[in-house]
């Protein structure tokens, strides 16, 4: 009788533990996703602001990437629209899109990565003084 109970406990543990672990992973993943969404949104806004003030793609990109902390910078990509500085005169709108590839621990289920994007828009303030 005692052996049967031990075996039953083991079976119950084997059944419940994976579910509990999956839930824990889900909660952690959702939290990471939330952090990534906040960081990319904030970074895009900071990048757009730098772009509006300097019209410098390199500085805007560097600012955006720096603002994505604590995300991994090698997984961050920055897109600027319009892509050419000459197409962004004072008063026009500039858009900075910061993307982040968040690796999910569900690759076994065909859910490898998810892409998170933040968008920042600013009116160009830069004046090109010769």
């Amino acid at each position: 009788m005692v052996r049967e109970e031990h075996a039953q406990s083991l079976v119950e543990l084997a059944l419940t533990l994976p579910v509990l672990l999956l839930l824990a992973v889900l909660i952690v993943t959702l939290s990471l996703l939330g952090i990534a969404r906040l960081a990319t949104e904030n970074a895009a806004s900071e990048g757009a602001r730098t772009l509006a003030l300097t019209n410098d793609d390199v500085r805007a990109t560097a600012t955006a990437i720096a603002a994505t902390a604590p995300l991994r910078s090698d997984l961050v990509d920055v897109r600027i629209d319009p892509s050419s500085a000459s197409l962004r005169p004072r008063g026009s709108l500039a858009r900075v899109v910061v993307g982040y590839r968040l690796a999910l621990p569900f690759a076994f289920a065909g859910l490898g990565d998810v892409r998170v994007e933040g968008v920042g828009v600013r009116r160009m303030e830069f004046i090109d003084v010769p």
């Binding site: 039953q8 839930l23 959702l30 949104e41 004072r90 303030e125």
Partner: protein, 138 residues
């Protein structure tokens, strides 16, 4: 007693599932609220900066005209007296906000000490945002 023990794992699992559902819901809700708040604040900043940029352009024009005519002028008062400033600033703010999916609730332009203040109140994703910028005269 043995039979009572048999349902323990199931009860624990149900309780854990319920708790996990609550935690997941709370995480998603908090994340969405924080993101909406951030978006509304950033939209308000963009709107206030756009309006401030328009005001700065006008103040530059007024300063250039005054220098050409060799007369002294308080460009902040002169800019605020311009009937087109409010409409232009609001247009610029609305243009930025439209591309961010936000609406302008109110734009206030006034003098604050030695600068022209542009305060934007916006509504985005069921959240209110507020930002102010100060524009120094040229």
């Amino acid at each position: 007693m043995c039979r009572d023990d048999r349902g323990q794992a199931l009860a624990l699992l149900v309780a854990a599932l319920g708790f996990a559902a609550f935690v997941v819901g709370a995480v998603v809700e908090t994340d969405t609220r924080l993101l909406n708040r951030l978006h509304a604040t950033r939209a308000a900043e963009a709107a206030a900066e756009a309006a401030g940029g328009v005001a700065a352009d006008l103040m530059l024009e007024l300063r250039a005209e005054a220098l050409q005519d060799h007369r002294a002028v308080d460009v902040i008062d002169a800019a605020l007296a311009d009937p087109l400033l409010a409409a232009r600033a609001e247009g610029a703010a609305r243009q930025v906000l439209a591309s961010m999916g936000a609406d302008l609730t109110r734009l206030t332009l006034n003098r604050r000490s030695t600068e022209l203040s542009a305060k934007a109140e916006v509504h985005s994703r069921n959240t209110d945002g507020l930002a102010r910028v100060g524009v120094q005269p040229p």
